[in-house]
Symmetry: C4
Subunit: 297 residues, 4 copies
């Protein structure tokens, strides 16, 4: 068996060594960076358009927390199925960080990925902001004078006075910084861990979009009553951008906690689950889901 | 290696080169036009029967916006899985337009596809219309004399006085033409973009029905409170046909906006993601859905 | 290319010609009839346990029509995935009839299949009946003396005075026999049509459980407010058996209508979509989901 | 055809003979026990974090019984997709028992699997416990002094006075021991039966996570109003551990009943559906989902 020249640690996003036949080695040629950034921007746009869009008008539609969580999760599954083969289908700075830690994304590409995700997410939030009728916020607030920005803030993540519980209990009880940090760190560690495990060579990678989308939906359902559930700094930033100073002032939590979660998941994956090169033997059996170029062994 | 005689640009919907063994080349014969039109009509019938059916009686079933959106989306997934291999599984004039723009449907077939979709959708709406008990509309309207047509109009898409918000706020606030156009253009552009990307050679095409169905469901969930969510001119037309002059008068929006959205998605796809003919080589390996190039070592 | 000796019209349920390599032809050996009947009984047991179980206690759980429909649909998907390779995964006399019409089930096996489905469904309903606390029916009826049988009748399908709308409107409006027949015929024709299309050689058969389960869920969601949605004579019979004379007296409708629907779908499929033997050529490319015996050509 | 040296009865969890080419036999090397225990612990952690997390705050989020059931089920699907290839994806002592009975897990590994599942589940419950704000329990109980432990007890499974119905009916009616035992035995037997059937050689094993997750969700939906639905002794134990003496005193039921259910399913599967070694012939056609080592025949 010829030694495959590319190991799993090689930082190509959606691309890997796939088939070794005789002495012909097929090596993945990753799509160009610009194409990958475009895919990340579009996927993040879709995710935020859908998730924040459903959250924004949930009082009108009655979609509820379950509807919002399913919307985010199913949009993520759809986006990964459609664009994952181009960019890896992160649409989330925490997942990109985890991918970089385990060597599936070059460190050089990390910040461009983050910027693309932020741009896509922010554009989606802006489009939603434009749809809000001027008179709606005050009507929804039962006549209390309310700005469009205050109305949009119902989509933002937060704690203390900005926790959803605070509104629900008219300030009597809230979730503080610690539970918000705790749930955001743990949930993102789980999300990134599932992403890394299910996109590994050993798993059914073609079904990864279901694992990642479903887990995003249900983890959001856990985090929603505590901090309004972000688990994605791009989504948190897009909401905060149009929600005024309260949300912006707490935004750091929704960057620090998910990145810490991604760090934990990435390091744990590297320590316990990184793929030894001799595992590549099963690429014989595994002819799915990626794009190849052929290269001389 | 024999040159495959069919390129991706060839406008055959669900058909491709399949297997090349030795020097026998099996080429997909696309189903006959009549079969494809039948599949489009049946799929559109199923989509509208389910989606409008759930919407029509949601006050009785309590299915809600979430139930209606899931019904449309899961019906689309099921329809694409069942009939997609015959016709491509559009069931939506906007998706057919997008497919024509990127060369996957001949322009000659576009209008027949549209007609088949309209016929299927209208038959489904007619069947639903027939199930309405005469006394129900007035009962649901709490005693206010209401015609069957007015009752059916709750399934129609609209803006201003016909926006769902107008009813909800007893006319105090509505979504106007601009937000309705904006959300319909953007959501259809996203839907068509996902359709084109996930049915491309490079993606996991066998899972396309999930991506398209899931994204249709969640995009409807966003659009529902604004315009009652069509994202499909055939569905909008079928509802309007039995809903009286109000819905018919606004129907143009639910043709123009989705077709503009499809145009944007189709042109963007052609510009950035069109498939080079040499990619077709991987149809060899692709018993399912992946891309290879073969090169001598 | 050797001519495959078994055509699609051969009445083996989950089995088909699969691979032709050199001059070795692998032919499917269908599981023994007893195993297939066992699988049908177990699958029908699961379907009815779950669907009726959720419906029975929906006032306690708040699952609602959406919960009941999703329960039936997801149970069907799971059952088909688990037991479909044994028996074809019908769990529904209407689907078995449709399969017999298109030649995928021998006519000789049809009645045994029906009996197995009925036994499984009835056992599940009996188990659920045993869980009902004596005092619960009267409590749920707000103190009105109610028997266990009357309580169970909320799971039965019906029209006129037994339509769910009749209860909802305290008898002011009901759905009569005609809308109940209409929706049951159409919805079952759609369900059986989707089943036949998605389990054909040309479709992605491994994903059939999703198409069938999803469409069952959403069609139930349409039929629920009209007739409490059966779309399956075994499910209707199991519910009626423990629901007293009212449900039993209307049971014939929930046999006649679905069987007529299956007849329409089966004949239409035979007329327009039956598979010519030369289509078997693509079995080359299609190496999934079934059991093989090896046979010399 | 060389005789494959490993039969289905060999107790390797996620590993099987896969490909026999010429005279080279590729045999699955199961991951090391520690890796498998890690995967079981992580998967159980995810399952309980999500399911109990949604249940704990359902009064705040409005997720409801449907939301809790979907959360458990989709988390299980995601966990199996991500970690199933390592450990078999049980995350449930009952499933491990069933697997041991049919010879897919060595008896020696059974207790370690149980311990790993318990540790993962308990850690998740502890993390959730830490997020509860001190003042919340009393607020949710409308001012009645309530401890954090009493608040957590809403996630525990129980009967009689601890049945959810008891709370709902303020003690007027409850589900007793017998219905709780009955539903827990039957539902777990179904769950384990589906697990064993769908992970067998003959089924589409790559789709097993959907069958198992979907059936877990809908069976929970049935059991929820009766006993608050465990169907998993690790989940029941984790909830009981933080819920005080009432839940702990009834915990034995949620061990005995599921283990009896697993026993029934395992023995039935062995009797009627065990795989003859000659079935391994279809491993030719089945090149997915597992890890290989190469071995000379």
């Amino acid at each position: 068996v010829p030694t495959p020249p590319v190991s799993d640690a090689t930082p190509v996003p959606a691309a890997d060594v796939l088939v070794v036949t005789g002495d012909v080695v097929l090596v993945a040629a990753p799509p160009a960076l610009l194409a990958r950034l475009g895919a990340e921007a579009i996927g993040s746009f879709v995710l935020v358009l859908v998730g924040l869009g459903v959250a924004l008008y949930t009082t009108l539609s009655g979609a509820g927390t379950l509807g919002v969580a399913l919307a985010f999760g199913l949009a993520l599954t759809a986006g990964m199925l459609a664009f994952g083969h181009v960019s890896g289908g992160h649409f989330n700075p925490a997942i990109s960080l985890g991918s970089a830690i385990v060597g599936r994304l070059t460190w050089r590409d990390l910040v461009p990925y983050w910027l693309a995700q932020l741009v896509g997410a922010a554009l989606a939030a802006a489009a939603l902001y434009l749809t809000i009728p001027t008179a709606l916020p005050t009507l929804v607030a039962s006549g209390t004078e309310t700005t469009t920005q205050q109305f949009f803030a119902s989509t933002a993540s937060g704690f203390d006075a900005h926790s959803p519980l605070s509104l629900l209990s008219t300030g009597q009880v809230t979730f503080g910084l610690l539970p918000a940090l705790l749930i955001e760190v743990i949930a993102v560690a789980v999300l990134v861990g599932i992403f890394l495990a299910v996109t590994s060579h050993r798993a059914q990678r073609s079904l990864a979009p279901f694992a990642v989308g479903f887990s995003y939906a249900v983890l959001l359902l856990v985090a929603a009553p505590i901090s309004n559930g972000a688990l994605n700094p791009a989504r948190a930033s897009a909401a905060a951008l149009f929600s005024g100073s309260g949300a912006l002032g707490q935004l750091w939590v929704f960057w620090v906690a998910p990145l810490v979660g991604a760090l934990i998941a990435g390091l744990a994956y590297r320590a316990f689950a990184s793929e030894p090169t001799d595992d590549l033997a099963d690429d014989f059996a595994d002819e799915d889901e990626v794009e190849l170029d052929q290269v001389t062994a």
